[in-house]
Symmetry: C2
Subunit: 210 residues, 2 copies
């Protein structure tokens, strides 16, 4: 197996944290998204969508999408479980993880891709010649504010972790959202005590440095 | 169990097709997204994100997100398998299904939500007061053209179905993309013979009328 990775990028980091929680080591190939390494012919021959992270299995199968890669690792290295241990829990964690992606991660990505000069013609991941749209910045800022509010009052208001009593992939995604948000100067408000308590705890796990 | 559904909407249809393939019947509650039933207090008390479909389990757990609901059904009703039967296959189908969602479904949704008068202040699902952004229409039209090209030449160019030799959840998502695209006058080009062959086959399955 080989993981096509990018040290600075938030989506590859989600897989690195997942691997670190499982104590799994995989050979890595570093590409630089900011310099467009992922859109060059060599990598497009491996993954025509040009997205990182991409996990290439020993039989040559290329898996992209963080959750698909994570599921492969979860099934081949079940301990500790990060995607649930019962039917109900697996579905619930999957639902919550998608909330973190769609409401959180995508809001920050909207801000980032439509403001950063390197992405002026890369408004969508893995595609060139998609012009930035300035109005998406405002929409993204409203989105991340809504997300932070719901993270504090709803998801983390009653339970210690995003999907219940155990650390899961949904916490990894949420942690990556909070840290990615700093790139665009969006911070957890200082009165969001539930989120700040959770953030301190998950940031102190050794996997957070991955 | 109770499924909060909307007969006209493409995401709830994905779950209905999934259920029909499994021959599973679930009690349904019909809400009208176009009239904003999903943003009214009664439904927000069940799902604060205001999204359909939502599956409420007998213990009161509310699951939203099509794939989370589908996974619950897949595990409780394994036959016929629609999400893979081996570790590699489950991860691969998940990766492919996300391609259909992100590259296909989201492109069409960008066009639809930013042109349809009922969604003038509903640029994102489940949230009011998000103004439409006209430039997203052009971005969505370029996106669906790219998606159709890749669907025909890459995904369906070598194998009969989107994720290989068997019908799977990725075909359900792709079918819903092609049908949703008609709403915004985007059609599979007439020279896309692989896609048209596949579309005819999947549309003739009894589940397609769900």
């Amino acid at each position: 197996m080989k993981l096509y990775d990018c040290q600075i990028a938030p989506n590859p980091r989600r897989v690195r944290i997942f691997l670190a929680e499982k104590a799994v080591e995989i050979e890595r190939v570093e590409l630089n998204i900011a310099e467009g390494d992922n859109l060059k012919p060599d990598f497009l021959a491996i993954n025509p969508r040009g997205l990182l992270p991409t996990l290439v299995l020993d039989d040559g199968t290329a898996l992209d999408e963080v959750v698909a890669i994570s599921r492969y690792i979860e099934e081949t290295h079940p301990e500790p479980p990060l995607m649930g241990t019962s039917t109900r829990e697996r579905a619930f964690i999957e639902s919550r993880n998608r909330h973190m992606e769609i409401d959180g991660f995508m809001s920050v990505a909207e801000i980032f891709r439509n403001t950063h000069p390197s992405f002026r013609e890369r408004g969508l991941p893995g595609v060139s010649a998609v012009p930035a749209i300035p109005q998406l910045v405002e929409r993204g800022r409203a989105g991340i504010a809504r997300f932070f509010e719901r993270l504090n009052s709803y998801y983390l208001g009653q339970r210690p972790f995003v999907a219940g009593d155990q650390f899961s992939i949904a916490d990894i995604t949420a942690l990556s959202v909070v840290d990615f948000a700093k790139w665009v100067e969006e911070k957890v408000p200082s009165n969001h005590v539930n989120t700040l308590r959770w953030y301190e705890a998950v940031s102190q796990r050794p996997s957070a440095t991955a």
